[in-house]
Symmetry: C2
Subunit: 377 residues, 2 copies
């Protein structure tokens, strides 16, 4: 077997390991059998991942003598719906997996969130394993136990905290990911630098091409990201404090996703986060919290890496400031009318601002949209 990088997630009885490295998928069977030799497995995946990688996974499970069945859903954010949730739950129950068996979430963040939520509630809680196949899922969504689906009122509004028993991040599986999806995941990698790790951001500014190309730099970037997230999650599992830092760029980003109808042709999650992080830095600069140069440094790196950084780059536009504000206030991070944003005091100096005045955000967004109009004209 290979010797992957191991990142522990320390959560008492719910602790688990993230394994990171090339060639982990063909070893999945052996590694899962080591964890639970008798378990039966129900794989949840999407059509894209199934076409490219399912045969490798099932061959590996067969070799280890593990019984398995597979449920395949349509790819894309639209599958994080009540309807697909019901379909996956009924599909899992039809496989007759029992409480000690495992659900395997095999795909990007959509599959991880959807299958993880189903695992959380089938028979009031089944064990599950994350085998993330997108960069975004490897560095973010597969770690930390947040699972859920979307409501028409907003993203991830229905869900559970449910920790996996194991995360297998095969970095070579990312080779089949489209450039656009890889870049979207890269936005979340850069996020860890911007949250609290300036040296990592500086390293990314120098090494991002190697991260995209694959090999050691990619593994290293994924491991740093997972370690950062694992640390934050271990200190604040259910987001009563520090964990909110992981939402840097997400309040704006989720609003953009909502107003583009979660249509991945127009915007994918990581692109929303990229634009959202730039907006968070611009808003921080506008409030005088960080230097006026910060936003363009952040935007410069993300743009160089091929990510959108401005609202006007969203094809088809995103509506009015009022519509954005409506989406923002329905997002999770709202308390008694005051808004919570992740803002920054400098590179890698993000903090939780609990008392943001909605009027200030509205004014800022109106200005941004006016700018966008000019660029668009």
């Amino acid at each position: 077997m290979s010797t992957p990088i191991t990142v522990p997630v320390v959560l008492g009885a719910r602790s688990y390991e993230i394994l990171i490295g090339p060639g982990l998928l063909p070893e999945a069977g052996a590694r899962i059998a080591a964890l639970a030799p008798q378990a039966r497995l129900a794989i949840v995946t999407d059509e894209n991942v199934a076409a490219l990688h399912l045969a490798t996974l099932t061959a590996s499970l067969d070799k280890a003598g593990l019984a398995h069945q597979t449920i395949v859903v349509k790819p894309g954010e639209a599958s994080k719906s009540y309807a697909t949730f019901a379909e996956v739950c009924d599909g899992l129950l039809a496989t007759r997996v029992e409480r000690g068996d495992f659900v395997i979430a095999f795909g990007g963040g959509v599959i991880g969130d959807l299958a993880g939520f189903a695992a959380a509630v089938i028979r009031r809680g089944m064990r599950f394993i994350q085998i993330p196949t997108s960069l975004l899922a490897q560095v973010d969504s597969s770690v930390g136990g947040k699972t859920g689906i979307n409501s028409r009122h907003g993203k991830n509004l229905v869900g559970a905290f449910h920790q996996p028993s194991l995360v297998l991040a095969d970095t070579s599986v990312l080779d089949t990911l489209s450039k656009r999806e890889f870049r979207a995941g890269y936005a979340e990698v850069a996020k860890y630098g911007l949250i609290n790790d300036a040296p990592f951001f500086l390293w990314l500014e120098r090494n991002w091409r190697d991260v995209m190309a694959g090999g050691k730099a990619r593994e290293e970037a994924i491991a740093v990201s997972c370690r950062s997230k694992a640390g934050i999650v271990a200190r604040d599992e259910t987001e009563t404090g520090e964990r909110a830092l992981l939402n840097l760029g997400h309040t704006f980003g989720h609003a953009l996703e909502a107003l583009t109808g979660y249509n991945s042709k127009r915007l994918v999650h990581g692109e929303g986060v990229s634009i959202g992080m730039v907006l968070a830095h611009e808003f921080s600069a506008r409030l005088g919290l960080c230097s006026q140069e910060m936003p363009s440094r952040v935007a410069g790196h993300l743009a160089e890496a091929g990510l959108p950084t401005r609202i006007d780059q969203v094809p088809g536009g995103v509506g009015t400031a009022a519509e954005l504000m409506n989406a923002i206030t329905q997002d999770k991070k709202v308390k008694r009318g005051k808004l919570t944003f992740i803002l920054t005091r400098g590179l890698g100096e993000s903090f939780i601002a609990n008392d943001v005045d909605p009027a200030a955000v509205t004014g800022f967004l109106e200005e941004k949209l006016a700018d966008a109009q000019k660029v668009g004209a």
Copy 2:
């Protein structure tokens, strides 16, 4: 304010109180305000309960200055569906309740399970209050934190453990309950005697008429039931052991419910439990575990109280032994092909039998169905 009987449910940080007594509903506002003066409330109820008691509840909340909105669903087991779950979640999100606010489950066990599950997953977990209005809900479903909905594969297969913050059991609200529904709840009261409290069963044999009539005997029976359940739940919150005793009669009962299509005209939950408890005692006697007289003593009391005790009493029949077994093996209490049943060694001496041979159950059911045919003919 009145001085209700108080039963504590001791679960560390998730501890709460069950208050039992007449006239609690008009005091709900004051009691909730004492717990959380600023909370906003989203009431989930069904059409029947709304017509009879919603005005009392909302008047009480208004008096206490608590903001509230209401979501009303259709009465009956059919509301424990994916579709109604989605409707309730979206309805709750539309009220813009936030993570510190409360969902109030105001109704019978269906509402408690449905609204409790929605509360468990909205924004990954909201607080909630149970105001149970059926006898079954007051003595059983509102206590202990099991919430969930049904799948076509079986009852309660999708759900969460989510403890309420308070349970208000107004015993006078039960006066509007139909005789049939009251009796159905009485089956769960008798269950506590049969599990581990023979003196309570003897007391019920003497006092069941007073329990039905109302007043002190009713309050006492509800309090004994809640204390019994609270004790078991405190010792085994997530059903890794002892808590399974509460399923006495439920494995058979759930199968009967499934095969009557959860159609309350044919069978309601408590009626299924009544027949199921008699079957559990008959099966125990057949295995030589308890005396041959036990089943008829149990059946005698339940029948006297107006409950069905035989399969042939289910209008329309319940299918074949094979169909019943299929429903039983899809129920939750299955491990590696062996069946788990709650069996008994005598009055109030129930125990968890983990290794029941499916063939023995099939044989027993075939015999029962043949008997039923004879009675039916």
